[in-house]
Symmetry: C2
Subunit: 293 residues, 2 copies
């Protein structure tokens, strides 16, 4: 693996899920050659065969900057899930990480957004511009309107509104991005378990008889206060499968600030499961009008 290639400009910090390899391909397709940093414990370096890739361990922040700058990258993008919150106190950071540790510890106490914003600030200080995945690959954005399946009836539209309201309320508190509403009632809110865990819970609640009615909808919204370069909600084929298992009728996200994990694959999965997928307009006046801050 060569650390430097002609045309390299973007470093991809890759979490879990299907999105990071898709973004890597999209960047290459656009004529750029990314350098990938799969996050240990989240992404598998084997998913980036054919790309320059260096596994990144939390705490090795000094080394990370050396590699990014050494590869000639002046932009970086975060993509994918981070399921396990790094416990920086339990790992031995490298020298660069050690110097930054107090800032990271402070940021960790402020929730996901706190950590990510702090890391974005460190990138900027090193001369690496953090950009949003949708700046790099706009084709990954969820479009507005009905994207897959059949248009939902009025009662499901109402469920969508309730779930969106709840998702934004917990987003404002930096807790989670997703909510599920069934039959006029929000039955489950996302916390540290993530969207997969949320949908599993809804499936369990149905088995336990705690959700009397069938159907319902999952809505994912960007946290209103969040930096749109970081941690955008993702929707993919697995979302369709999990939503179906949870007995839902469909899924909605925010158009232009939710990421589709492969448009063709995602739409095919929703069609196959018989679920609708909708891109909602999001409230203007919040963050998110642009994402290349």
């Amino acid at each position: 693996m060569a650390d430097k290639r002609a045309g390299c400009s973007i470093a991809i910090l890759a979490g879990s899920g299907d999105l990071p390899p898709l973004l890597a391909e999209a960047v290459r397709h656009a004529g750029d050659e990314p350098v990938i940093f799969p996050i240990a414990g989240e992404a598998d370096i084997a998913d980036f065969a054919g790309f320059t890739a260096h596994e990144y361990r939390w705490g090795e922040i000094g080394g990370l900057f050396r590699l990014i700058l050494g590869a000639g990258c002046r932009e970086a993008v975060f993509i994918g899930g981070i399921a396990r919150r790094p416990d920086f106190r339990a790992i031995l950071p490298d020298l660069g990480g050690l110097l930054l540790l107090p800032r990271i510890l402070k940021a960790l106490r402020r929730g996901d957004d706190g950590v990510l914003s702090e890391i974005a600030g460190m990138f900027a200080e090193k001369g690496v511009k953090l950009v949003g995945p949708l700046t790099v690959a706009p084709e990954l954005a969820l479009p507005e309107g009905l994207v897959a399946g059949n248009n939902p009836a009025a009662d499901l539209r109402a469920d969508m509104e309730r779930a969106a309201e709840a998702a934004r309320a917990i987003g404002r508190l930096d807790i989670g991005q997703a909510a599920v509403a069934v039959d006029g009632r929000v039955v489950a809110l996302e916390g540290a378990e993530g969207t997969d865990g949320l949908l599993e819970r809804v499936a369990d609640l149905r088995v336990a008889g705690r959700i009397a009615k069938s159907g319902g909808v999952l809505v994912k919204c960007m946290k209103p206060t969040q930096d749109p370069r970081l941690d955008l909600p993702g929707i993919g084929p697995r979302t369709a499968t999990a939503a179906r298992r949870a007995g839902l009728d469909g899924v909605a996200g925010e158009a232009g600030r939710a990421l589709l994990a492969g448009r063709a694959e995602t739409l095919a999965a929703f069609d196959e499961e018989g679920l609708f997928l909708i891109g909602l307009p999001y409230p203007r006046g919040e963050t998110g009008a642009g994402d290349d801050g």
Copy 2:
């Protein structure tokens, strides 16, 4: 079982948990003789041996009022959990229930508070005054301040504030009453799964490595918009056990509007598990200043 007894004035509609038998005993201790209506599928009529008790099935609302009024009761109190949301569409209501069905269906779409408020309205129309359990048995209220265990340190106090803020935010949306914060971050919010399910999830999240730090706190708050006669948050010995399994340091509720499922038993359980229990002041200006509306 005689339907009428001298001195009967209070009907107790009993859901699940330890609270309904405790309330029945408290009413008797105060010199009154309650008539109990254990809700089928939630409460076990066998737990009310020695009391006049009639199992109540959702939908038999006409019969319920006949029994309540026939027993000479002019007041009624709801207590205990309702885990399974009644699907009124799946049961055959009696004549009284049939007439009220459209109102109940409409109320069901408005969440828990909607159903309960609607039922309270029906009671009032029948001449039965709905009262709060704390009016009937003030000794069941969580007192203010440190009630069990050791005073939590500043970081846990901060967790308590965050969890209380989150619990109130989801309460305003009539979703749930409880939130768990660990190490400065809200990790789980209560939905249809209830507090037991919430605490099980926190235990699972720890096993899965999705909560990096030990400790934390469960906070239960009355929904700010809710009628304090209905569905007050409950804290009991099982709360202590479940909170311990979830790896928490303690539990907080609102003083004067959370119910203790037996003061001595609950305090002993918290002490035994090594957890603190705290009664928080609640924001004035919301509902809940009085509960005998």
